[in-house]
């Protein structure tokens, strides 16, 4: 199809430029696009945020819902992370059940939040063995110009940081429009992705760059020097040395982004 050919041609140009040490939009290899975070974009959500990373546009919304605890963790609440690649966002996205790209993104964002222990699951207990909070973190893509992983991670964290805990009435029913406080986050885990193109490492790849990519490596880091999750994707490979560079880049970039939350 014609559109595929156009994409291939753009990918060729990306590679040409990268080999000359350049990116098509003149960014430095490790430079993120302009980030704009808009908070509380939905009153019905307990917390929400819209993230623009260049023209990449994603939304995250939080709903806290009283639910049954897992049998083996009777005093712990839980999180549930989902993403939908809305067909609004790209001519390549089709409506339908979740596919592997969505599943991977949701699970990597999930692990960054879960493993960083930024949420104390025991504090999400309402009554031991009976009722706990389930924190639903749902993300939607509005416009895909690349790097959905990082954009979604920023949106999810931004939305969590704004989240108000609903007030509960009798029989664990939510009292609409009333809140009992804010959700406490002990850490601010952020996922930063490094993309390998023509043997070079770049950050915050745009859509055209992703078409030219060999592989990507995403690391969720915390402000106190930990990694909470990482994930290699794509059909290419990384040398051990490249992985170390990716890790360094992720720490550095997350630090910059964290200032803008």
């Amino acid at each position: 199809m014609a559109s595929d050919i156009v994409l291939d041609l753009r990918a060729d140009k990306v590679i040409e430029a990268i080999k000359l040490g350049k990116r098509l939009d003149n960014r430095k290899f490790d430079e993120y696009r302009k980030l704009k975070i808009t908070k509380n974009i939905s009153e019905n959500a307990n917390g929400s945020a819209r993230v623009l990373l260049g023209e990449t546009d994603v939304i995250a919304g939080i709903k806290m819902v009283p639910g049954d605890p897992f049998p083996d963790t009777p005093k712990e609440g839980s999180i549930s992370v989902g993403v939908e690649f809305l067909p609004l966002a790209s001519p390549l996205f089709e409506p339908g059940p979740p596919r592997e790209n969505e599943t991977e993104l949701a699970r990597v964002v999930d692990r960054g939040i879960r493993e960083s222990k930024c949420l104390d699951f025991e504090k999400l207990c309402i009554k031991e063995g009976e009722k706990v909070w389930v924190v639903f973190i749902d993300m939607y893509t509005m416009n895909d110009d690349g790097n959905l992983f990082d954009a979604c991670s920023i949106a999810a964290l931004s939305a969590l940081l704004e989240t108000k805990i609903p007030k509960l009435g009798d029989e664990y029913k939510i009292v609409k429009g009333e809140y009992s406080g804010k959700l406490h986050l002990a850490r601010k885990p952020l996922l930063c992705t490094t993309t390998k193109i023509a043997g070079h490492l770049v950050n915050d790849a745009c859509f055209a760059e992703e078409k030219a990519m060999e592989a990507r490596f995403s690391v969720a880091t915390t402000e106190d020097g930990y990694m909470a999750a990482y994930q290699k994707g794509g059909s290419g490979s990384f040398s051990p040395k490249e992985i170390d560079e990716c890790i360094d880049l992720s720490f550095a970039k997350a630090k910059e982004i964290r200032k803008q939350l």
Partner: protein, 259 residues
């Protein structure tokens, strides 16, 4: 679902509980061309309702056997984000979303010159990000503006509004509290404003023919107010395009309260 039991006065001294007059819209803001990947797009805020619409097409309809050699197909998808409603919505599209998608797509078919694009599909996706009654008409208004933004030739825009009854009064653009009135009637309607052709009309609640006549009049008036905001949003974009500004469009067309 749960309707209030106690007797409430929904209109008092000509004013509604949120301060509006009976024939007054909630504030309406429309901006087109907001998404770079889509062929046409629109962001809309209407009171608390927040909607984004995108249009792709006309593009080849696939699989081939669904193609119509005489005209373009219209595929309209209305969806609600899980967090856009008071209780978390199941992410799977429900029957309500399916029905709204069907009647909304049919409403747009009358407006578009479909016969010019045989064998293609025009895909319209609308996502509700926040809601407070009236999302289906908000979605249709946004979709119509996104179609125009995509440059798809149309007889006219589709303009839409909700009209109905609460506490015995016929009022325009009901909000959620009003829709939850014990005697609430909800009438989403959409028209081609220039000819007043009705392209979407639904109702539920107990209504007499006389009440309907009053509601219709109000609805037509409301649709035309919405029409002006739609046109203004498109005008703004095209003016800017003419000036060949390269900055992103940050201004938005606004329908202020009590116009």
């Amino acid at each position: 679902m749960s309707k209030k039991e106690e007797k409430t006065e929904y209109v008092k001294n000509g004013k509604r509980l949120d301060g509006r007059g009976t024939e007054e819209l909630r504030p309406l803001k429309i901006e087109v061309g907001v998404l770079s990947r889509a062929d046409g797009s629109c962001a809309l805020e209407w009171g608390q309702n927040k909607v984004v619409a995108a249009v792709y097409g006309p593009r080849e309809a696939l699989p081939k056997h669904i193609q119509n050699p005489y005209k373009a197909l219209v595929d309209y998808q209305y969806r609600m984000a899980t967090f856009s409603v008071p209780d978390r919505k199941n992410p799977k599209p429900g029957r309500r979303e399916m029905e709204i998608s069907k009647v909304s797509g049919e409403a747009l078919e009358k407006a578009i010159f479909l016969e010019r694009f045989p064998n293609t599909t025009i895909d319209i996706f609308v996502e509700i990000l926040d809601s407070n009654a009236g999302t289906r008409v908000a979605a249709l208004v946004a979709a119509s503006a996104a179609l125009a933004d995509a440059g798809i030739p149309m007889r006219d825009m589709v303009s839409a509004v909700g009209v109905g009854k609460a506490g015995g009064e016929i009022i325009l653009d009901l909000n959620k509290d009003e829709e939850d009135a014990p005697d609430a009637v909800d009438i989403p309607m959409a028209i081609l404003p220039r000819t007043e052709e009705i392209v979407l009309l639904q109702m539920d609640g107990l209504l007499t023919p006389e009440e309907w006549k009053k509601a219709l009049k109000l609805g037509l008036k409301g649709c035309k107010q919405v029409y002006e905001v739609q046109k203004e949003a498109l005008r703004k974009k095209y003016l800017e395009a003419e000036k060949e500004e390269s900055e992103p469009n940050t201004e938005t067309a606004t329908q202020e309260e009590g116009e």
